[in-house]
């Protein structure tokens, strides 16, 4: 195990605060392990504690309880510099007064490495990230994607045991994000460096992660391979959080799912639109949103809005009253809205 976090808890607030209301529990009993070369994505809504988790791992935040180890070495009490991890920040954190070359070499110079060795490593990292022609430029003259690559190069050049990436794509536009997503994944595969990747974007999580950990209010809700999380969400929250559009959840009064379920769910792409009389449920179309080859159809079923993802060619007749057809095996049952899967 390159990276191991055991029962980590972190509370923000004044130490002297005696009342619980003055304290913010950012992380509670978080445990996770990342194997050698694994890309583990931590995903959750804003405020779920994912950036705090990363800052705790790299040592920028102290922790209340728990243990963090890197390559078997307990680093819980060590300063950031001695943890052998490199972090890429959301806002890139490039030094504006240093050119690309000096930005990349900063960490090596700080560690007083030999000048010739530094130059060679910088060249290598620049080559890898296609930055060679930008080495003498300053950050202010770089595009978002270029800044991102410099920030990555700064981490790569240190040859750390683990990369910690804090929402590295959130400051890029949509097109570039897709491109950089692939680039980061390729780079990570090539270097085989264990990586903790924090994002709030569930698409990023599902496409990039070897495994995905869903964080909510400082607790891990579920951890596993992306498709396992998608196909078998552990609870209502994970079901709602993953997928675009997310899983339809509705009371079991509308459709009786597995025995004992208070809430049932079904993925939008698992539903077909049919004649009202042929479906398991019937409702009326409220809105149709075309998205390229597919379209999202909003259907009102007994006061609940269900989303159906269909091919655009199958839209004929998708107006007025429709029937919703799906396999009973595609129906998920949950105890309640946030409750565990049955």
């Amino acid at each position: 195990m390159t990276l191991s976090i055991e029962e980590l808890s972190k509370t923000f607030g004044t130490r002297r605060a005696r009342t619980d209301s003055a304290l913010v529990r950012a992380l509670e009993d978080v445990s996770l392990q990342a194997a050698d070369g694994e890309l583990l994505v931590i995903v959750g809504p804003s405020g779920s504690g994912k950036s705090t988790l990363l800052r705790c791992v790299c040592g920028l935040e102290t922790i209340d309880r728990g243990r963090i180890s890197v390559q078997g070495k307990d680093v819980t009490r060590l300063p950031p510099a001695e943890r052998n991890v490199a972090m890429v920040f959301q806002e890139f954190a490039l030094f504006p007064h240093l050119n690309v070359r000096a930005n990349i070499s900063f960490g090596l110079e700080a560690r007083k490495q030999e000048t010739t060795a530094i130059a060679a490593k910088v060249e290598q990292a620049a080559e890898m990230l296609d930055l060679k022609r930008l080495l003498n430029r300053y950050p202010s003259s770089l595009s978002g994607g270029e800044k991102q690559r410099v920030a990555l190069a700064r981490a790569v050049v240190r040859e750390p045991a683990a990369f910690l990436l804090d929402e590295p794509l959130s400051n890029l536009d949509a097109e570039l994000r897709t491109h950089m997503r692939a680039e980061i994944k390729t780079l990570q595969r090539r270097l085989e460096t264990t990586t903790l990747y924090v994002t709030h974007d569930q698409v990023e999580a599902l496409t990039m992660g070897d495994r995905v950990a869903v964080l909510r209010a400082g607790r891990i809700e579920q951890i596993g391979p992306p498709m396992e999380l998608y196909d078998h969400p552990a609870n209502g929250f994970v079901a709602r959080f993953l997928g675009s559009p997310p899983m339809n959840l509705f009371p079991s009064g509308i459709h009786k799912g597995p025995a004992g379920a208070g809430v049932v769910g079904i993925r939008p792409e698992r539903i077909r639109l049919v004649e009202p009389s042929e479906g398991r449920l019937a409702g009326s179309v409220v809105l149709v949103e075309p998205i390229g080859t597919d379209a999202i159809v909003h259907v009102d079923v007994q006061g609940h809005r269900l989303l159906v993802r269909v091919e655009r060619s199958a839209l004929d007749g998708a107006s007025g009253e429709v029937g919703l057809l799906f396999l009973e095996s595609d129906v998920h049952g949950f105890q309640d809205w946030d409750g565990p899967a049955l």
């Binding site: 040592g59 920028l60 300063p79 510099a81 700080a110 560690r111 240190r158």
Partner: protein, 287 residues
């Protein structure tokens, strides 16, 4: 929608500026070419006053004194302002009070501040002299205000505490540097001294350069009060700075023409120094 330019709101201020600064400056410039002595009507004397300035030993001595003052005081003042800013930029218990204390000497009226230091620097019973005596440096203590060099240094040190504005500006400059840069430096393994040298000071550079420019202009005029109230220009003319020379020429010897010529010279010297500094700073890519 039509944008209304309310520039007339600036007119009262600009009017005052013209009346109180531009007009006297123009008058001073005109007087510099006359033999005006406040008794007889002025007569045009051409460049006589300026020739006299260039030939006057007192002028060169005052210029040297002022230069020495700047060379000692400017680094002290900048270093103090930056040090306070770096120590006090983070909120914490007592930091508010500490910031107020750092600013305080700049609030005290110059004359009161000078009289306070007159006591501090007293060579016989002043606290500085006594403290120096206590550690066996009586000679140094007794030389305060009587020995030219220790007096020059003392006046410069005195000025190094009045750094309120520079401190506030340096504080603002430090707080503009994103914390994420410091996080990145820490994770990268940079030690505090390395961070100060490679991150903090370079990023505060433009502001420090601006402060230095401002301080040169300020220093060319600022030491008038201590020179008048504490040292009276002495000992042996060691603290007769340019402003004091102007004041004496005009109001003790009634040589207004000559005093104006010195004033115009100070203005030209200031302009040249500031221009040279600006060029230097630009070459460093700082501004």
């Amino acid at each position: 929608m039509r944008v209304r330019h309310e520039h007339w709101l600036a007119w009262p201020y600009l009017g005052g500026l013209v009346l109180l600064v531009v007009v006297p400056a123009a008058v001073a410039l005109a007087i510099a070419f006359t033999n005006f002595n406040a008794i007889r009507p002025p007569e045009f004397t051409g460049l006589d006053n300026f020739t006299r300035v260039v030939r006057d030993e007192a002028f060169w001595r005052a210029l040297a004194n002022t230069t020495i003052y700047i060379v000692i005081a400017l680094p002290l003042r900048l270093a103090a302002a930056v040090a306070f800013a770096l120590l006090l930029h983070r909120p914490g218990p007592g930091v508010g009070a500490a910031r107020a204390i750092a600013y305080l000497p700049s609030v005290v009226p110059d004359a009161a501040y000078a009289l306070l230091w007159l006591w501090f620097l007293n060579p016989i019973y002043g606290p500085i002299s006594l403290a120096l005596g206590a550690v066996g440096l009586e000679g140094l203590g007794n030389g305060l205000l009587t020995d030219p060099w220790s007096t020059r240094v003392a006046i410069a040190v005195m000025g190094a505490f009045q750094i309120g504005e520079a401190f506030v500006i340096a504080l603002a400059a430090r707080r503009l540097i994103p914390e994420s840069l410091y996080d990145a430096a820490r994770v990268d393994g940079a030690k505090p001294w390395f961070v100060l040298r490679r991150v903090t000071l370079p990023l505060m550079g433009p502001v420090l350069a601006l402060l230095a420019l401002r301080d040169v202009i300020f220093s060319l005029q600022a030491n008038f009060v201590p020179a008048l109230l504490i040292t009276d220009g002495g000992p042996r003319y060691a603290t007769t700075y340019l402003p004091l020379l102007v004041y004496r020429s005009a109001f003790r010897y009634f040589r207004f023409g000559y005093a104006s010529a010195v004033t115009v010279s100070i203005f030209l010297i200031t302009a040249i120094v500031v221009y040279l500094q600006y060029r230097l700073v630009k070459r460093w890519r700082l501004l």
